[in-house]
Amino acid sequence: MIKRCVFRGCLALLVAVPPAGSALAQSAPMAAVSAAPAGAAPYAMTLGDMMDTLIQPRHAKLGLAGKAQNWALAQYAMVEIRQSFAGIVKAQPKFRGLPVGELVTAALGQPMDAVDAAIKAQDPQKFAAAYAQLTAGCNACHSAADHPYVVIKAPDVSEFPNQDFNPHR
């Protein structure tokens, strides 16, 4: 539980910090940071919270970028996914007693390497196959963690109306 405290207090901090340039920010930023209501309970993100906020959107963005053959964006999404998993493993090393890092490596290690290789080769067919492998790895991991009903799939449409997934120079 203590190790999950990396994420604790994030929400309170976001609420408490005023917009840059505001009078409060200019005059007493440190006071503002500590101005969370007394007795406010810090929120500890569950593994589900972290999957929903850090991994699932990036998995979708990776798929959309690859489908659009936007290889630079796809590579960026892969880096973010790897970084997110590294942070999650530090924040919550175990889930129901199971080692999260080992599960991630077992389920996603080889598929993530395959996606990287497809991006490097800029090969849409290889990417589609590797992305399907990655998605299957997600679901295998969910099953291993007793959450087989959380079924991930390739996105049909973009859920990000404010982002263009097509390649731009």
């Binding site: 539980m1 569950t46 593994l47 589900g48 919270d49 999957m51 919550q92 175990k94 889930f95 129901r96 007693g97 199971l98 080692p99 080992e102 599960l103 077992a106 389920a107 080889q110 295998a140 991991c141 099953s143 291993a144 963690a145 007793d146 959450h147 087989p148």
Partner: protein
């Protein structure tokens, strides 16, 4: 997956009932033990220096009987819920799969008396 979950084919007399997790929970950090008081085990069956092996047979032997399960797609197995009188050191884990022979079994360090977290025992196979 249901096939794998139901692969526990013989429960020994000392094994406690396996309690299914209630539904409706998020990915909270519930333990694997399912409410039993005794030790539980999990681990990966892998090729030596390689990936996990699915559908490998894993046997947990204890004086008087054995409990058999199988690995999932990742090569992971879980054996929840021995009885509280079971000494984890008396449980011997082994693994098998057709075309392979067992190479090594590695038991990870585990705090004595900790019955909440499962004990990790990895089993390695090599091709015959």
């Amino acid at each position: 997956m249901a096939r794998l979950r139901s692969a526990v084919i013989m429960a020994i007399a000392l094994a406690a009932p396996i309690v299914a997790h209630a539904g409706g929970v998020d990915m909270t950090d519930e333990d694997l033990n399912g409410g039993a008081d005794g030790p539980s085990f999990f681990g990966f069956v892998r090729v030596v220096g390689g990936p996990g092996i699915d559908d490998a047979k894993v046997t947990a032997e204890l004086k008087g009987g054995a409990l058999v399960t199988a690995t999932d797609l990742l090569g992971l197995y879980k054996i929840p819920g021995f009885g509280k009188d079971v000494n984890p050191d008396d449980v011997q884990i082994s693994c098998a799969k057709e075309g392979y022979k067992q190479a090594n079994v590695m038991r990870h360090p585990h705090p004595a008396g900790d019955m909440k977290d499962p004990i990790e025992v990895d089993c390695f196979l090599q091709k015959q």
